[in-house]
């Protein structure tokens, strides 16, 4: 258990319905994430993937179950988990540097202002915004705003980075460069990251494991796809790799048809704690049950 930085245990979320009863968005959801791992959750809207992320962030509470981060139960938001919001959520009355410094000052409450700004400046530079420190969010393009959002999240040096469709509002070109930046930063700092996305290519490029959620209500994790593309993959040549299309096709098939089919009909012997782990990039490999998680972890530390 010790290698699991995050352990999501049997969480459920229900919303009361008019006229009594409750709609179950998802229930009995289990997920473990290792230190340094990049995990993407893919699913259609309404499957509750954002709710899962908000529960991990502590912004939402599960109706059942617990989330354990680094040995401690999540009871609310905390500085060890940073969130990058889809809508970037910058404070518009602060400058770029001010937004990042706000986070730094929240983490290091006893630091003098100059030291706070010094560290904030470093993170602004890290995301390639040197020179724009004094600008207000309204003066920035969508991509630049999200860079500030990333800098603000990284500036508190969190154990876990939580991203809720961070690039979905951006144009394809900007999205690509930001994916490169995120991958570079996460690889060099071994940042544990959980990202929500519905962009299959984004998931394949960034994630070590891709968690597939069925459609809601009553959504669940259908399976976990092991990304077998080499670690030094490149966004522009990734599609020429042998493993790429089998993985992509698997994800697309899931989103197109299996996401509904699997919700309605559970396969026999299906265990929510040990959902099937598949590696479509390796043609010979069979579905590996439980041990798959560990196998990925071992492979990661070896490679």
């Amino acid at each position: 258990m010790s290698s699991n930085l995050i352990s999501v245990e049997a969480i459920a979320k229900r919303y009361p319905q008019k006229g009594g009863g409750a709609v179950t968005i998802f229930e009995d959801l289990w997920l473990r994430i290792d230190r340094g791992e990049f995990v993407c959750i893919v699913g259609h809207s309404g499957c509750g993937k954002t709710t899962v992320l908000n529960i991990l962030a502590g912004l939402d509470r599960p109706d059942e179950g617990v989330v354990i981060v680094d040995g401690k139960e999540v009871t609310g938001p905390a500085l060890d988990r940073a969130v990058i919001f889809q809508s970037h959520a910058l404070l518009p009355w602060l400058t770029v540097l001010g937004n990042v410094a706000y986070a730094v000052a929240a983490k290091h409450r006893d630091w003098p202002k100059t030291k706070v700004r010094e560290l904030a400046r470093r993170f602004v530079e890290l995301v390639g915004l040197a020179g724009a420190e004094g600008k207000r969010p309204a003066e920035l393009s969508g991509g630049m705003k999200q860079r500030v959002g990333i800098a603000r999240a990284l500036a508190i040096e969190p154990k876990i980075l939580l991203m809720d469709e961070p690039f979905s509002a951006l144009d394809a070109l900007t999205r690509g460069t930001l994916q490169d930046e995120v991958r570079r930063i996460c690889l060099t700092t071994e940042q544990t990251t959980l990202m929500i996305t519905h962009d299959v290519d984004e998931a394949i490029y960034l994630a070590d494991r891709i968690v597939l959620m069925t459609n809601g209500p009553n959504a669940r994790i259908a399976e976990i796809v092991k990304n077998t593309l080499p670690r030094d993959r490149d966004r522009n040549s990734m599609h020429r790799m042998r493993e790429y299309y089998p993985i992509r096709n698997h994800l697309m098939d899931f989103l197109i048809s299996r996401s509904t089919a699997l919700r309605d009909a559970r396969p026999g012997g299906w265990d929510p704690r040990n959902v099937p782990v598949v590696a479509p990039g390796e043609p010979a490999e069979e579905e590996v049950p439980d041990t798959g998680l560990r196998a990925v972890a071992r492979q990661r530390t070896a490679g």
Partner: protein, 279 residues
């Protein structure tokens, strides 16, 4: 040098003024007196009968009187003859003290209402009922309980300034974007600091808008309130000059009330610009 585009509105503005003054002068011009009046009777009746002068002062008369007020705004020749500057100062003093009290009450209370659904629902009926009441309706109650006409006028200003600020503050606070609050929550910013570093700057434009509406209303109400309580102030000045049948002074008072009102509004407009952020 401003270009012709900038000069055009100025030219039009001056033309409107010139046209207004011309019409004004023409319509108040003396029409010539009745020729065959008994001189004793004429002496009794004054210029309106002897020279056909209008009871309404012309622009020249108003300008001359205006100049005399501007030259000596602060003279004090007894209770019924004070310079217009003194009268305005009394009014501004009452407005600012009533307004300041309203700020102290309305903004913190509005903050609480905006943050608490329960409080908002609980107080809403009272606000809805009290808000549309003309502030002058409070005057007898104030006079009876406070037993001081000056303090009653200040109270009336307080009660009329409180509602727009209260409602705008509550609205501004309650409609702060949830994601901004979530940012602060994920950074473990304590609640009191969240109120100061997120809610206050986010709601500031709405709050200042409420303050701007309030100062406008307060300045409208003070004239009427001072007509009622009497003694000092620009409202009393207007009423007193009406009783003196000095239309000239009433017109000048209107002008000064307008100028002061504009200045008060502009001050809060500047404050609004300072706290507004582009999104």
């Amino acid at each position: 040098m401003p270009g012709p585009e900038r000069l055009r509105p100025l030219a039009l503005s001056l033309a409107v003024f010139a046209a207004f003054v011309t019409v004004w002068a023409a319509s108040t011009r003396a029409t010539g007196g009745a020729a065959d009046l008994d001189p004793e009777y004429a002496a009794l009746m004054g210029a309106q009968v002897t020279q056909g002068a209008s009871a309404m002062p012309g622009p020249g008369e108003v300008a001359a009187k205006l100049w005399s007020h501007i030259r000596d705004p602060f003279y004090d020749a007894g209770p019924n003859d004070k310079g217009i500057g003194i009268q305005l100062a009394y009014s501004i003093g009452r407005v600012l003290s009533g307004y300041a009290m309203a700020v102290v009450v309305a903004i913190p209370l509005g903050f609480l209402i905006g943050m608490s659904q329960v409080l908002s629902r609980a107080l809403d009926p009272y606000i809805q009922i009290l808000k549309p009441v003309s502030p002058l309706a409070w005057m007898p109650l104030a006079l009876y309980t406070i037993k001081d006409s000056n303090a009653s006028a200040v109270f009336v200003i307080f009660i009329c300034s409180v509602w727009p600020m209260l409602i705008n503050t509550a609205f501004g606070v309650s409609s702060v974007r949830k994601e901004w609050l979530n940012v602060a929550r994920t950074l473990e910013v304590p609640a009191w600091k969240r109120a100061l570093t997120v809610i206050l700057p986010a709601a500031a434009p709405t709050i200042v808008t409420g303050m701007r509406i309030s100062i406008g209303i307060a300045w409208l109400v003070i004239v009427a309130a001072e007509m009622l309580v009497g003694g000092t102030g620009i409202g009393y000045f207007v009423w007193n000059e009406w009783n003196n049948l000095s239309i000239v002074n009433v017109i000048i008072a209107i002008l000064f009330i307008g100028v002061v009102g504009m200045l008060l509004d502009q001050m809060l407009a500047a404050a609004a610009r300072a706290v507004t952020f582009p999104e």
